[in-house]
């Protein structure tokens, strides 16, 4: 049988998704289910003086209505935060529904349960909440001043300060001796993850008491099960969590949400199934948001532009509360502010700050896009200072291939890498030299549409592990993954995985791995997942971990199955196990190619158990729990070419090239899909998306009409390629690819825009680079330099407008 790993096998998941047969939470038919509607705070910060649900209760079809105080006895504990990043981190008490104070617009303050969704929503409008409005605090630096306290009881808005400074003296010395110093301030705007499926929940109590089943649109049924049981006070063994088809997550479904706990508590209390469907406005306000940081980024470099130290200081916006891993998100990037470069001295400090806004948490890339953005923007700034091409500054600083495994000054061991070929290939595909000469030609012709070319070289850390390292980071859970592989009597294979796919195609990739290992057709492999009763052990899907951790657990389980099968085959063939070779699903006696036994036949023997070796248990099944020895480190280089219209500030992306290296490839088709989607999500941060709050803490971009998720008409087709540098961290050599595009894209696009605007002396634009911001920056630049049009004059790049652009662009469109 020819190998399927490495082929572009079409996805097994697709037919049911293409025909509408797939069932997302909202599609589940649950007889007798009640519908939950949630009354949410319309103020960013307010004391709840009273909640009157009587008018709602009087409506036809309404079964119950409660305030936060009414439901307080339902909670065995507050909402969980699984990542107390420091010993003294401040974490305000947070219940699924606010009891005394609402701390962001969208915070739940009352619930209505009715026979239909319409009745619940109509009645929710009649709940009267008497608020005493408190001042909002929206801006991060303002919040840090403690002028307004989000949580009075904490006495400060500072949740924690976390440091990674292996050698402070070395950093000081590097900056003292530097020939070039780059000092930059970048704003990571808040993003709304915007999975196309909003969240949905159904809690179904069993008819005879006992078990309760929670169907929910989640990435983490396993983690949720433990924490929901603890919060609602039910026995974990009595709680089953199922994630049916899930319509995208991007980190936003990696959480323990109030609505999941409310449905559980209300189903328990009312003894009927309770369901909730999130509408899009709720999704923008009550589902976590991503990013939200101010980054102070400094590089020290020698005269040739070789970076000698990096110093990063972050303010990270927690929002109103700490959700599941909110405080840990900046830490996921903390080790990567040196990226693909060989930098001897390292300093990172992050302070987490509360604001009266929706909580932040994991969003695609989670910490790593932010780190890569700051570093890659700063590398371009350094290239400008040193006076070399951005490609050259990267080449001079790359970690050399013979340095792997590489001990970074940030304390990681990069497992494998070879950075220069990816850069070279990307430049070749982009036609780099041609674009540079086109750019120069346009500038000298005085064109008002400026070409810009932007590079971004990245490395990420995927597959968070080993568990003891996560312990050192004070993350409450482990980093292992689990899988079970079992042969059925007919030779079909069942795989149980602890990963929770929601669009990534695990059923396909896992089948391919099993097919090659066990010599069966991928069609004969069934992958079971996302149900804690079927797959009891798992750490779920996030952080590009599924293949490198879960896929490896699967691979190891197949090895165990083969080991056991070998004993049975040897017994049946009447030879010693050592005398058997195994390949492609067949055992062959060494030296006797005609004496064989297929593993499927072994499986049947294991099932009948008529003729097994003494002491060997029936059936062919094995489990593996894999705790990797290290992270994996995928990398690559992306290049973006833009055209910026100086008159309107509009950016058009003309070309986008990506060369990624995720180690051994299981299915290139799926890898490309992950890269494409990641790129557009990352580019959308650079060009379109921003969760905008007004000064009172109202989210202005609370729909897909205002929050600009790009469409097909807004970004071009991409050119992708890969290099392959296998990971030594796991037996298949795989790394992970789910976040690569998102990590690389935003800096590539922004560097291209800054490059296009360099004739104006512009060195910074905040994301997203809106027409308003670009026009404002150009205007301030030309006003300051007194030039009527800078486009023709290369020399005007030296004008004194640097720095003025950022502040002005900030203030513009609000």
């Amino acid at each position: 049988m020819t190998a399927v790993v490495g082929t572009r096998m079409l996805r097994k998941e697709d037919p049911e998704l293409l025909t509408g047969e797939a069932r997302y939470v909202d599609d589940l038919v649950i007889p007798g289910a009640l519908h939950l509607a949630i009354v949410r705070s319309t103020y960013a910060h307010a004391t709840i003086k009273s909640v009157d649900v009587s008018a709602a209760l009087a409506q036809p079809g309404v079964v119950a209505a409660f305030s936060g105080a009414d439901l307080r006895p339902e909670w065995a504990g507050p909402m969980p935060c699984a990542w107390p990043v420091t010993e003294d981190m401040l974490n305000p008490e947070h219940f699924p529904i606010a009891v005394h104070t609402a701390c962001y617009v969208g915070d739940a303050v009352a619930v209505v349960v009715a026979e239909t969704d319409v009745a619940a929503r109509d009645a929710a409008e009649l709940v009267e909440v008497d608020f005493d409005v408190l001042p909002a605090v929206v801006d991060l630096e303002d919040a840090l001043s403690d002028r307004v306290l989000v949580h009075e009881a904490l006495g400060t808005n500072r949740s924690y300060t976390w440091e990674l400074i292996p050698d402070a003296d070395a950093v000081e010395e590097a900056f003292a001796n530097a020939s070039h110093t780059v000092v930059e301030r970048y704003v990571q705007q808040r993003l709304i993850p915007s999975a196309m499926e909003t969240r949905g929940v159904v809690a179904v109590p069993a008819v005879y008491g006992g078990e309760i089943t929670l169907y929910t649109s989640t990435q983490i049924p396993h983690i949720l099960r433990v924490l929901a049981a603890l919060t609602v006070g039910v026995s974990e063994s009595k709680l089953r969590v199922v994630a049916p088809s899930v319509g995208g997550g991007f980190g936003s479904k990696l959480d323990v949400y109030a609505e999941e706990l409310l449905c559980l508590a209300l189903a328990r209390r009312l003894r009927r199934p309770v369901r909730w469907s999130e509408d899009r406005m709720e999704n923008t306000q009550a589902t976590i948001q991503g990013r939200g940081m101010i980054q102070h980024m400094e590089l020290a470099a020698d005269a040739d532009g070789r970076v000698t130290a990096v110093r990063a200081r972050l303010l990270a916006d927690m929002g109103a509360y700490l959700q599941l891993v909110t405080p840990g998100i900046p830490l996921l990037g903390a080790f990567l502010y040196g990226g693909v470069y060989d930098i001897p001295a390292y300093s990172f400090v992050c302070t987490g700050v509360f604001t009266t806004k929706t909580p932040t948490d994991a969003y695609r890339g989670a910490g790593r896009p932010e780190a890569t953005y700051a570093l890659e923007r700063a590398m371009d700034a350094l290239a400008r200072q040193v006076g070399v091409d951005p490609a050259e500054i990267r080449r001079r600083n790359f970690i050399h291939p013979d340095q792997f495994p590489y001990s970074s000054s940030g304390g990681l061991i990069f497992d494998s890498g070879n950075y220069e070929p990816a850069l070279a290939r990307a430049m070749e595909m982009a036609g780099y030299d041609q674009v540079r000469s086109d750019q120069a030609a346009r500038r000298s012709a005085g064109a008002t549409k400026h070409l810009g070319i932007g590079l971004s070289s990245y490395v990420e850390m995927c597959g968070l592990a080993p568990s003891r390292v996560l312990s050192a980071l004070r993350y409450v859970a482990g980093g292992w993954e689990s899988s079970t592989v079992r042969f059925l009597p007919t030779g079909k294979v069942q795989v149980v995985t602890g990963t929770t796919p929601h669009g990534q195609g695990h059923e396909t990739s896992w089948s391919m791995i099993v097919a090659d290992q066990l010599g069966v057709s991928p069609d004969d492999v069934e992958v079971l997942h996302s149900d804690t009763s079927i797959a009891p052990h798992g750490m779920d899907t996030y952080g590009s971990r599924s293949l490198s951790v879960g896929g490896t657990a699967l691979w190891l389980a197949t090895e165990k199955v083969i080991d056991k099968a070998k004993l049975i085959a040897a017994h049946q063939l009447e030879v010693a196990a050592e005398d058997l070779d195994y390949a492609g699903g067949t055992f062959t006696v060494k030296g006797s190619p005609d004496r064989t036994m297929a593993i499927g036949a072994v499986a049947f023997e294991a099932f009948t158990a008529h003729n097994l070796p003494d002491g060997l248990e029936p059936n062919l099944e094995a489990s593996s729990h894999w705790d990797p020895p290290n992270f994996t480190f995928p990398f690559g280089t992306h290049i973006c070419v833009v055209e910026v219209d100086e008159e309107t500030g509009k950016v058009d992306v003309l070309k986008y090239v990506a060369v990624d290296d995720c180690g051994t490839q299981i299915n290139p088709l799926i890898i490309e899909g992950q890269v494409h989607g990641g790129i557009v999500q990352g580019a959308a941060q650079a060009l379109f998306e921003e969760a905008i709050y007004d000064e009172d803490g109202n989210l202005v971009t609370s729909s897909l009409a205002d929050y600009l998720v790009p469409s097909a008409a807004d970004f071009p087709s991409m050119q992708t390629d890969t290099t392959v540098t296998p990971s030594p961290t796991n037996p298949m050599g795989v790394k992970g690819v789910g976040e690569a595009g998102t990590i690389a894209a935003a800096p590539a696009v922004m560097n291209a825009i800054i490059d296009a605007l360099s004739p104006f002396g512009i060195t910074d634009i905040d994301m997203p680079a809106t027409p308003q911001r670009i026009w404002t920056a150009i205007k301030q630049s030309t006003d300051a330099s007194g030039a009527s049009g800078a486009s023709g004059a290369g020399a005007s790049g030296a004008s004194g407008a640097n720095g003025a652009s950022g502040a002005g662009a900030n203030g513009g469109p609000r």
Binding site: T648, Q772, P813
Partner: protein
């Protein structure tokens, strides 16, 4: 999301719609394609107590030549305007702009009359009809009257339509070879215009529909608005660039998350210049 409750009445004719409007007063709303009204009702920002469905009045969906004008039934969908061969020949500005309204699904439902009667200053088609020098035919209890586009847009989301009147037809003059341009500036392709410009340039005094230029702006004021200062400058012999400098004269454009008033004024100047250049002399 589901609208608040309402009574639904289906009109079998324009006259029945007028009778229903008269009967139900201010609480009633006409429903044509529904693509302006239903989104507001779903968010419960609009809560009419009676909805009068006129979407089935097939006799109000047509595009036909009438002398030196083209008459378009108010219930003609954007898509039908977009693909009309008659309009492509006689008033190509209109299908070009209609093809940029919303997205294909919206254009399959939304109607030209609904768009104009909604009176949204951010809509594309009101500016187009203004630039063309078109007019609206409206029918009420007292019969039919014609309102020039210049008098139709009365205030923010307000038109000259009385509460008991129905917009039945839009009339626009043939372009007779005159130059035209539609410039729509937005961040995403399917969004409302941040600023838009519709422009028509006729040879001076030539043709039955008169000479001169018609220039109108999208999202530059509380109503769809003509750039009269630009038109006057052109009439006075100004170049495209010179005339375009007057694009925002006397206007108080809105401020939102996409653009400040200052940026809108600037965009109007750039887009008017481009429109005039594309429309030719």
């Amino acid at each position: 999301m589901i609208p608040a409750s309402f009574d639904y009445r289906r009109a079998a004719s324009a006259d029945e719609a007028i009778a229903l409007l008269t009967e139900n007063g201010d609480d009633a709303k006409l429903l044509a394609g529904g693509h302006s009204l239903l989104p507001l009702m779903k968010l419960r920002l609009a809560r009419p107590s009676v909805l009068i469905d006129i979407s089935r009045l097939a006799d109000l969906s047509y595009i036909r030549a009438d002398g030196d004008q083209i008459a378009i039934g108010a219930l003609t969908r954007h898509h039908d305007v977009e693909v009309s061969e008659l309009l492509a020949r006689e008033v190509p500005l209109l299908p070009a702009a209609a093809g940029q309204v919303g997205d294909p699904q919206i254009r399959h439902r939304g109607t030209i009359g609904g768009s104009l009667a909604h009176g949204d200053p951010a809509s594309d088609l009101p500016a187009v009809v203004l630039a063309l020098g078109g007019s609206m035919v409206v029918r009420g209890p007292g019969g039919e009257r014609s309102i020039p586009a210049t008098e139709f847009f009365a205030g923010f989301m307000e038109t000259a339509l009385a509460a008991d009147e129905v917009l039945t037809e839009i009339r626009v003059p043939r372009l007779e070879g005159a130059g035209w341009s539609f410039q729509k500036f937005n961040r995403r392709a399917h969004d409302w215009a941040i600023v838009g410009v519709a422009a028509v340039r006729r040879g001076a005094g030539s043709g039955a529909n008169g000479g001169g230029a018609g220039v109108a702006l999208v999202n530059m004021a509380s109503t769809p608005v003509r750039a009269t200062a630009v038109e006057e400058a052109l009439a006075g012999g100004a170049s495209a660039t010179e005339a375009a400098a007057h694009a925002a004269d006397g206007l108080d454009p809105p401020s939102d998350i996409n653009a400040t008033p200052e940026f809108r004024r600037h965009l109007a100047q750039v887009l008017v210049r481009r429109a005039l250049e594309e429309a030719g002399a």
